[in-house]
Symmetry: C2
Subunit: 199 residues, 2 copies
């Protein structure tokens, strides 16, 4: 219900490291594992048995462990995947004729997603540190998407011109990440922020 991401981008080898790409079957399995893990973690919490994840993905437990040596690696992969999906959603929404509605939709989806995964983020964040490649990637990706959405909305004159992308990120982040809020309370706060942003 608050699940935004579905897009499984097999992800071309990103960083500088010159590793040869995964074999085709391995790539398929990796994608299946991420998908299965997401589903399993949603249904049974973030410490569902990894054997169940492997079974659901239709691969052996050994394959899971080769690709994701720890549970955290799996969580990290899901997270990256989700961040990419959120950015992808911004691209999709860029086609919408109603610019305000597109902006509004994106912010709402983004924050709903953030709320639903707050505890998970905290855990990841604590474990891998804010300097990690994943966190940098996440910051940059979200920031780029936010900039795109915001600039379009500002050029169309539906969002006030005196706020920056980082302001908006901080505002929305503040509504969703701090404290243990009820989802609908966070949603109300986001409504207020959106109201404040509208030109």
């Amino acid at each position: 219900m608050t699940e935004v991401p579905q897009v499984v981008t097999p992800k071309a080898s990103d960083a500088a490291t010159t590793e040869r790409p995964l074999r085709a079957d391995a790539q398929r399995n990796q994608a299946k594992l991420i998908e299965a893990a997401r589903a399993e973690f949603v249904e049974h919490g973030a410490d569902a048995p990894l054997e169940d994840v492997a079974r659901r993905a239709g691969v052996g437990i050994g394959t899971l462990y080769r690709r994701f040596p720890t549970r955290l690696d799996l969580l990290e992969a899901i997270y990256r995947n989700d961040v990419d999906a959120i950015a992808g959603r911004a691209v999709e929404l860029a086609d919408e004729a109603d610019v305000w509605s597109a902006f509004r939709t994106w912010i709402t989806e983004f924050s709903a997603y953030a709320v639903s995964k707050r505890a998970l983020f905290q855990q990841l964040f604590d474990a891998i540190g804010k300097g990690s490649a994943t966190m940098t990637h996440s910051r940059e990706t979200v920031s780029a998407a936010m900039t795109t959405m915001l600039e379009r909305a500002q050029q169309a004159g539906v969002v006030r011109a005196d706020v920056s992308a980082s302001d908006v990120t901080r505002l929305v982040g503040g509504c969703t990440m701090m404290g243990a809020l009820e989802p609908d309370q966070a949603a109300r706060m986001v409504e207020v922020v959106l109201d404040g942003l509208r030109a």
Copy 2:
């Protein structure tokens, strides 16, 4: 180093429930278990084997499980214990001649403790919910201690009069609980707050 609490108050049956008190040996074991669990969790993280906790306490694993059916129950007991210790510390400090120094010490210790256990709290909080007896007890106890410390400091004229206990709690809480801060960064923020509070 950031470990404030040592006081193990065996805790008279608190709520309304008319349960007969624990037998003396059971009470001793309960205290030993809490103490051992605290030590074990500090040394090996919050998912140290419960068998080790039992061994360290010098009791059987069965005894541990009878008293604390889940790991969370144990964490909860430690937390309650700690909250009581912090409140106890406020009482101790009420004797200090230098009122400002006492206030400052208490706030510093309080926040250092909060920072050191932030992740744990988050976990507990998410698991048992803010309406739980433990959380209510915690809120009330801390609030009472804060009120005591603050009023004394205000009457002595060392802390500005226009702030309430809940303001201060929120300020300090804000420095310590939000985001994944480095301990010394949090400490600096607390310094700033203290500076702002001084009359």
